[in-house]
């Protein structure tokens, strides 16, 4: 059932998947009970000769109990979902942990412009390096991504990280993640941004510590 999810490689992705599954089971059971009840009523109370319908207006409290009691249950389940959601949301969007690596991702129709601050860790200095569509980060490190847009709204979406954030032009938006597995994954744009929206594809390279060091050394050999 949940195999359809892309695999999860972020620290908070599990929390998100957990809430999804929680809701799935809660409303799934509610859904099944509801549909079965309808099916049962429809079969049981189909028109038969000589059988009259019952007159039940449902305007009196004892009768209303039949629908209000399940409703209270729904209310309770809703609150459960709310609290579980709040907790997971806090893990993703709450206080941002101290980052180890920072990169800037700037979107424009229809490319991701990725800027690495270089060894000094500061943007807008001479050692900045800009690449198109390739985001290289180390595994098991907190990465802070500074999102900017040069034209319209785009959305930074990495399915395997369960991370999605719209990027508003004229503002910067920060997100973070910590990947738990190495590999090469796809970055997608999730907000309609023009005719090339579907081509706005980038790659997230998650390197092991050694690989990442090698990659750094290759780009900034002077170090």
């Amino acid at each position: 059932m949940f195999d359809w999810f892309p695999k999860n490689i972020s620290t908070f992705g599990g929390d998100i998947d957990y809430v999804f599954k929680l809701i799935f089971y809660i409303v799934g059971i509610g859904f099944l009970l509801g549909e079965l009840a309808i099916l049962f009523f429809v079969v049981q109370f189909r028109r038969r000769d000589g059988q009259k319908a019952k007159y039940i207006s449902g305007d009196k409290w004892p009768q209303l109990g039949w629908i209000l009691i399940p409703t209270v249950l729904v209310l309770f389940l809703d609150l459960w979902i709310d609290f579980a959601g709040a907790k997971a949301y806090d893990a993703v969007k709450g206080e941002m942990p101290v980052h180890d690596v920072i990169v800037e991702v700037s979107s424009k129709q229809y490319n991701w412009i990725i800027t690495y601050p270089g060894p000094d860790g500061v943007f807008a200095t001479a050692d900045d390096i800009t690449k198109e569509n390739d985001l290289h980060v180390p595994v098991n490190k907190v990465i802070k991504v500074v999102l900017k847009s040069q034209d319209v709204i785009h959305s930074f979406f990495v399915p395997v990280l369960r991370l999605k954030q719209d990027i508003l032009p004229g503002r910067t938006t920060d997100v973070w993640f910590e990947a738990t597995e190495t590999g090469k994954y796809e970055i997608a744009c999730a907000e309609l941004c023009g005719y090339g929206h579907y081509t706005m594809r980038g790659f997230l390279h998650i390197h092991s510590e050694e690989e990442y060091a090698a990659w750094l050394a290759q780009i900034w050999p002077a170090e």
């Binding site: 409303v27 009523f41 028109r47 039940i56 449902g58 409703t71 719209d166 004229g170 309609l192």
Partner: protein, 577 residues
């Protein structure tokens, strides 16, 4: 009065064809005009859905039946990305604003409301006529937008700025302007309609028709009208600003000129969420009329349903930002909006449970309208509960702008617009056209539509869980989507079948209209006032205005011979057993 009525009848007979059928002020004719408009637009938007689906299943191959579209819009049937975006945008816009609202509010609201409250017409018949011709013009704007240079609007039906605010971003020039103007006209049309609905219901009811004796369909229509009127204003303001950005060169939504792109989203969704209930309520309003008639039972909890609707209506103004969880708005506001969003399931749960309770103990007859009513309820539950997934912010981070959301909203909109709409059409067709529809064709249509609808949209949840983005022209662009392409093709096959499934309906509709069995005044033995008058309904609706003695749902009263009790007849004395 009677004298005046006869003179007016004679007067009508002398009226020219144009006055009688085109620029008519009769709510019944106007209702039918809305009906034909919405069915035509359904055909247009349904065809667009077909083009969209083909492109998604077999990207960049020639779409059969699209060869007629001239270059540079399409290239011998091959749809380029610009046109794809335009198709999706216009499919959504037309389905919601030019099919959903004109069908449920325009056609059934106009046709039924005066009949149900026992009035001779709407309070402002000429305004009513204007509202139709306004939406007619709006439809022309929408259709014309395909033929102007640059093609039609391609910024999504939500028209997010700045993509929509400056032609350089999409290459669409007048197409999008026409889209804005068309929408503004549509809004004006329904504002006029809403004034009529409310005023008619409040002031024109027949003697004895208290507010709590109104059929629920009327309650749903006027609640929808109020929701619409109170939510659309800010978006009208926004549309004017957007049009100025595009044409004059102001920068209300352009950050480069000091504007704020997020503002459009707030304005759109402040309207957009109440709007989805504007479409939903009349749809389930029809269900509320049909369930009691075909189970011969009162609707369960008449007042409770009205209260729940009002609670949902109020809440609907406090949830709009659930469309914007990942938009970059203040994250502290996310949880409050999430709580109101998820709580809105409570009033809807009450309504759904009331429907179930109505079935319980009934004597259910499966005529086509009843099948559609039950179908509406069973499928809407799926749409409703998947709204809970969207409403949970962490889950929405992942599923936002994926096919999970696409499927959610088709599972809510399709039941109310098409399943609810078909239920209403099969139910009121005898009154509207004086003929019965064919039952066999109706049942074929129902099962075909129901099954194919589910086959189209349930797999979309799977796509969404797999992370499949919406509004993408070619899914094969992404490696992680390639394994799911089979599902996309399956959906497209089902969608084609779904469209073909409408053929029995079209045949039935026209064939019955001209050659169907003649309908009696009250073929379903229903209580409400529209069945109290003759078929075909006379000019000014009732020969004498009926007096109302009790509520609309007194079916199977104990100690009575008949299992129904029309609203305009006094209760017969208890039958001697």
């Amino acid at each position: 009065m009677a004298e005046q009525a006869t003179s007016e009848v004679q007067h009508t007979e002398q009226m020219s064809f144009v006055r009688k059928y085109i620029f008519s002020v009769d709510h019944k004719v106007i209702g039918k005009q809305y009906l034909f408009l919405s069915l035509f637009m359904a055909l247009v938007a349904g065809t667009m859905a077909y083009y969209v689906r083909w492109q998604l299943a077999w990207p960049e191959t020639a779409v059969p039946g699209a060869g007629w579209i001239p270059e540079p819009t399409a290239f011998s049937g091959i749809i380029p990305p610009e046109f794809y975006n335009a198709l999706v945008t216009m499919h959504g816009t037309i389905m919601v604003f030019f099919v959903g609202m004109p069908l449920l509010l325009g056609a059934f609201g106009n046709y039924l409301l005066p009949l149900m409250v026992g009035a001779r017409d709407m309070a402002f018949p000429r305004l009513n006529m204007m509202s139709f011709w306004t939406i007619f013009t709006a439809s022309l704007c929408m259709i014309a937008s395909f033929f102007v240079e640059g093609g039609s609007a391609a910024a999504g039906w939500t028209g997010y700025a700045p993509l929509s605010a400056d032609p350089i971003y999409t290459g669409v020039t007048w197409g999008l302007n026409l889209w804005i103007i068309g929408l503004a006209l549509e809004f004006t049309s329904f504002l006029m309609g809403g004034i009529n609905f409310l005023t008619t219901t409040v002031t024109m009811r027949a003697p004895g028709m208290t507010m709590l004796r109104l059929p629920l369909m009327v309650w749903m229509q006027i609640t929808a009208a109020v929701l619409f009127m109170l939510s659309v204003g800010p978006l009208v303001a926004g549309a004017i600003l957007l049009l100025l950005d595009r044409t004059v060169g102001t920068g209300f939504f352009l950050p480069g000129k000091g504007g704020d792109p997020l503002l459009w989203q707030h304005l759109f969704w402040f309207f957009g969420h109440p709007e989805v209930y504007v479409v939903l309520l009349p749809g389930i309003g029809a269900v509320m009329e049909i369930l009691p008639v075909f189970s011969r039972k009162p609707i369960f909890g008449y007042r409770t349903i009205i209260w729940s609707t009002m609670v949902a209506g109020v809440l609907s103004f406090l949830v709009w930002a659930h469309h914007m969880y990942v938009s970059g708005m203040d994250p502290n506001l996310v949880m409050p909006f999430s709580i109101t969003t998820i709580l809105i399931s409570v009033p809807f749960a009450v309504i759904i449970f009331a429907f179930m309770a109505t079935l319980w103990g009934g004597s259910i007859e499966f005529k086509t309208p009843m099948l559609y009513a039950i179908g509406t309820v069973t499928t809407f539950i799926i749409g409703g509960v998947t709204g809970i997934f969207n409403g949970s912010p962490p889950v929405d981070i992942f599923i936002h702008d994926t096919y999970f959301v696409v499927s959610h909203f088709h599972f809510t909109l399709f039941p109310s617009v098409f399943l609810g709409g078909f239920a209403a059409l099969y139910f009121w067709f005898p009154k509207m056209f004086g003929k019965m529809m064919n039952e066999t064709l109706g049942k074929i249509h129902f099962w075909w539509t129901m099954i194919c609808f589910n086959l189209v949209f349930i797999p979309m949840f799977v796509l969404g869980m797999g992370g499949h983005m919406r509004r993408i022209y070619n899914p094969m662009q992404y490696d992680f989507l390639k394994p799911m392409q089979g599902i996309n093709q399956f959906i497209t096959y089902s969608a084609i079948l779904l469209l073909l499934g409408q053929i029995p309906f079209i045949v039935n509709f026209f064939w019955s209209m001209f050659g169907g069995k003649k309908a009696g005044d009250n073929p379903w033995n229903a209580n409400t006032l529209e069945w109290a008058t003759t078929t075909p309904v006379p000019h000014e609706n009732f020969d004498t205005i009926p007096t109302v003695y009790h509520g609309p749902y007194d079916y199977s009263l104990p100690n009575q011979n008949e299992d129904w009790q029309p609203q305009h007849l006094e209760k017969e004395p208890a039958a001697v057993a």
